[in-house]
Amino acid sequence: MQRPAPSTGSSPRPPTSSDADLGQRIARAFARRGDRGVLADFRRLSGGASKESIAVTLTGDDGARRGYVLRRAVAGHDDGFGLNPATEAGVLQAAGAAGAAVPGVAFVLDDQDGLGPGFVMHHVAGESLAPRIQRDEGFAAARDALPAQLGRALARIHRADIAHIADLPDQPIAAQVDHYRRALDDLGAVAPALELGMAWALAHRAPHARHTLVHGDFRLGNLMVDDRGLAAVLDWELAHRGDPMEDLGWLCIRSWRFGRPDLPVAGIGGREALFAAYEAESGLTVDRAAVHFWEVFGNVKWGAICLVQAGRHVGGQTRSVELAAIGRRTQEAAHDLMALLRR
């Protein structure tokens, strides 16, 4: 259901010895689909726990360079969370058809590619690192535009036609609570404040007015932003069916405001600009109480994910000081949820 969220500041890893073989397979995947371009470069990007993203550059006959991103499941990295890549590609296409800015899907990998389950999408230029979007002078106009753009993008995502996507899980609150309780139990993690947040959530279930596509991880870090604002919504592997207000609440949790806790929408703007644009685009009223519910539960989720991330280090799957340190962030979310649920 919920894999650990990617970190926001990792640098690319250095090359490894198996990379030459990987390059050959990537080049062959494009060639098999009639692409006559020559593989110019590929490098691993920092990414989620269960999937790997690889930036790929091809040089065409005319000498022009074309950028792609290959997303694939990685053996040993699959933690049972997240969509399989073919479903993720289908969701991307459905959101794109509904008018949301998303990277175009170039092709879905098959067995003959020898790259595991995955898909290739077109590269979208821009910046995804939150501190740069929040602070750099070049993004000043983007920051003014973003709250409304995010509201419109979510309204479009939430009207996407997903009837044909069979593998997209339904995630009502009871299932999410169940999932995180089990994840924490499996780790042997003991988190009373998160448990209290889950008890609160079960007692205050958000009324399910609509049942739509939910992005599931809509926040800075997963949004490509250029100097005019939102360029593309990325990282769809946590998409599911559920209450659309979940995306608005998650976007507003303090952890996703990064260095600007005073600005509730992604650390760049106020809630009213987001809500007004969502309402104008969808013709529907934003249920403020439901957004608040999901903001509280978003903190439960993030607090649990911090512990799950640390568990990958402690359990030995991925030894990393970064993952270990994220475990010590669980109290940030727990603290915020304690303050919010008394509002």
Binding site: L196, V321, Q331
Partner: protein, 115 residues
């Protein structure tokens, strides 16, 4: 004092980790994270014992049992999950607030300071 105690060693390590690496070096981010980890260790060294003792004392009062902190927290989680403790009770909320405040004072003091 000439002899470097644990905090002096951690301080030296913290200073080492803030040495500048060339721009673009993939270790820059990891070094910053590692420097924060050392800062957390130094605060835990100074505050951890007192915070754990206070937490244990509150849990003992709350649950009426005398066990170690980990067991007491496990029991608290069990009671919240099973509905055996009123999670709206002020005593429980106050205990969790105090525990989280002490943990944040070690892990990330800015989180509360910048609220």
């Amino acid at each position: 004092m000439m002899y470097p105690d644990a905090d002096a060693l951690l301080e030296a390590l913290q200073e080492f980790l803030t040495l500048d690496l060339p721009p673009g070096d993939f270790r820059r981010f990891q070094h910053r994270v590692a420097g924060n980890v050392v800062a957390t260790l130094r605060r835990e060294w100074a505050q951890g014992d007192e915070a754990a003792a206070a937490e244990r004392a509150r849990l003992r009062d709350l649950l009426g049992q005398d066990r170690d902190v980990a067991d007491l927290n496990g029991e608290l989680v069990r009671r919240i999950r099973q509905g055996e403790i009123d999670w709206t009770s002020q005593t429980l909320l106050d205990h969790l607030d105090a525990t989280l405040a002490a943990e944040l004072a070690i892990n990330n003091p800015k989180w509360i300071a910048r609220k």
